[in-house]
Structures are given as C-alpha cells and as structure tokens.
Amino acid sequence: MDNSFESPKIFEGMSQYRPPLCFELTGKTLELVMDTGYDYELAFTDRKVLRYGEKDGNSEEYAYECLKVEDDTYFVNFELTGASPRACMTFVLDLEQSLVTACHCTVGQNPRWPKMPKPFIFFGAIRKADGTLTHLRHGYTSDMAGKAIHWNYGNLEVVHVYYSERYYRLTQTKAGMERLKEEKPDVYEMLSKRNIETILEDPCSMIKIKDGIYVFAVNEETMNRQRGSGNHLFFLMNLNRMYDVGRSFGHNWEGLPENYTYGAFGEYYDASELLARESTEFIK
C-alpha cells in the first residue's frame, strides 16, 4: 500500500485504534441519583461538550468522549478541567435498566507516590421519564474469577488474568512474547522478567452491568510503587461480542498528564499456569 493513507496528525495514544466516538446522547439530560446521597445532572450539550454538576447547584462544561458498548449502554469519560487535584469522571450509563456506575478519580494526593491515582467507584440510578427510580444496582461480581482474556489494543497486546473477584494479574501471550523478542527486543527484555520471581498483581473492581457486560477497573499500584508511575484503568467489556472500551487516567511515560479512551478486541486465554501460582504480593 502506498503511504498516502495518512495517520491522524494528533497524538492519541492507544485511542488511535478505538472505534469512532458515539454522539447518540447529544441533547439528552440525565438526572443521576447516587448512593453517596448527592444527585447530579449530566446534560450532553453537543457532540463534544457536556454540562455536569450537582442538581440545582453549580455546573460546569467539560469536553467529553462517549463510546457505546451495547444497545443503550454508554461509556462516558471527561476530565474535570481546573480541578485540584486533577480529577476525572467516568460513567457507565445503562439506559436500558436506568442505572449508573460512576468513577471519580483523582491524582496528585499521595505524598509518597504523587502519580498514584485515587479512584472512587459509586453507584446510583438514573431518574426515569415518569420520575421513578429503580432500587436495583450494578453489582460487584465473581463471574470473571478464574478467567483470562487476551486483549488487542492495536499497538499493545496484554492478557488480563481475572484471578479473583478482588485481584487481577497481568501477563503476555507466549506468541506475543515471541513476536516481541524479534520486533522489540528491549520491550521483550523488560517483560520477560515479569511474573518470574514476583507476580504482577493488583487489587481490582469487577462489576456486572448486565449479562455479558462488565466493568473491570484497576489501579496500577504495583507499577507506582516500583517505578513511580501507574494509571487508573477503567474498562467496560462486552463479552457477548468480545470487545471493550475504556480509559486510562494518570500520566504517560513522559510524565505528562494522560486521560484518553481506547478500545480492544479480545479472546479468552488459558492462563491456568499463572492462576495456579501463589501470590507474591498479598496475604490471602
């Protein structure tokens, strides 16, 4: 192929390989009644800007990105620009069940690891057109425990090993490692040391949205402790059709602020060897 097919000019990180953004929520206003005791209004002004704030309180406009993971289920992410410490809001808006899962994540508060994000996941309901609210909530689940999925994010392949309801492990496929050995020996050298003496493992959240649709969220705490940088990753997975969307909030390799969305295709992977090993990081 000739080189006249040009890549986007803007650096987008892994988001270069995600599906196009979804603008279906444009013009909609949602009232989010959260279990924290606060109610919020989320108004999608246009394709790029939304207005967010406490209901009947002050609100601000923010640039947002929306991706669709299933009919009537949307992933929305935006930086709370101007917030100190830096902050990000991520929503799973489940218009089918009128439910919402939210993540407020900040970074810059940890005195020892200033790049350690601090996520807070909370739940609520979306007020229906008739004014009612459902009592149900998206819930923490063990459905994924013992499974592993090989995800392809375009320029990155990883295996997320869902060790238990509360912990995940990270590895690479054997074939992927062989490719790295040839194509990126320096990366291979770094990754080949992973999961040898110690296991790369972090606490995580696994939340069931509906059948086949799950949130997987992890804070890269181990990486922060080891190298002083690691992000909060929030994934919304459609396991009926084996793809996900998500976002990374924190800092990039150059230490600059990072908050971008991505998407991937996945296939189940046999990680029984890694699943069978005792944790080297946590007393269980």
Partner: protein, 150 residues
C-alpha cells in the same frame, strides 16, 4: 455461508466480533435500515437489498459501486481478525484478496482518504479504516467487526 464468512469464522466455528448498532442516523435513513458507525462520518447500512454506505458529511446514502475503484491497496500484506482466535494472513493483489490459501475476488474502492471499501463477488462488504486499523463488515448478512494488525 459465504466464502468470506467461512474464512473469518473458521468454517462457522467462531462467533465473529460484533459492534452495536448506531442510532445516530436513525432519522436520516429509511425505516428498517440498520447502521453501524465505522468512522466519524461513514456508516455501514444493512438493507434488504444489501449493503449501503451513509456519509454524514454529505448526507448521501450510496451503494458501494458509487465509490471509485482504486489500486492503492495492491501489494498490501497484513493480518486481519474478525473473530476471536482467527487471525488470517491477508494480501491484496489486483482484483483479489488472498486470505491464507483462499482467494476471493474483490473490488477495492476508496471511500475517503483513509477508508477502503471492498466488495466480494458474493455481495459481502468490508470497510477498512486504515488510520485506525479497524474493520467493519457486512458478511453473510451479519454485521461483524475486527482489526488489522498494526
């Protein structure tokens, strides 16, 4: 089962990757048509008469044959996957897409600077976003999606 569906699904054994329908253009296309968003401006449309393309930047609903043919993909060798665990070597040669050992007659068209449109002799349509390395297709009447190896 079309030959393309047979190839991408390993003979129908693997369920292809899917993508949700887009409602963004529901007021712009006839009732009964279904759309999948492929790029910021292009949507692949399923109709009873086969695949169509809607371009939101022009407001035009087209059939693949409306787009100009191109030879820009000739010689392009890559790997594509439209179903978990099925990664196919793909080579574009004049008038053919060679998938592993099978050869599919295809017409390659250009649907904007970074988008290629391919149609097979059995009516399957593949849309490749070259800048995002993503594939969207209507194969054997089903919407499927996938990726091109970076």
């Amino acid at each position: 089962m079309t030959r393309l569906f047979n190839a991408i699904s390993d003979g129908g054994q693997k369920k292809p990757y899917g993508m949700t329908l887009s409602l963004e253009i529901k007021d712009k296309i006839p009732e009964g048509y279904e759309a999948v968003k492929c790029t910021d401006s292009l949507y692949l449309i399923r109709t009873a008469d086969g695949a169509k393309i809607y371009d939101i930047s022009t407001g035009k609903l087209s059939v693949p044959q409306d787009y100009p043919e191109t030879d820009r993909a000739n010689g392009f060798v890559t790997e594509i996957s439209l179903a978990p665990g099925v990664i196919l070597k793909a080579e574009f040669t004049p008038d053919q897409l060679v998938l592993e050992d099978g050869k599919l007659p295809v017409t390659v068209r250009e649907a904007g600077g970074n988008v290629l449109l391919m149609e097979t002799d059995e009516g399957d349509v593949l849309l490749m976003d070259v800048s995002r390395f993503l594939l969207y297709a209507l194969v054997d009447g089903q919407f499927v999606c996938g990726y091109v190896e970076v």
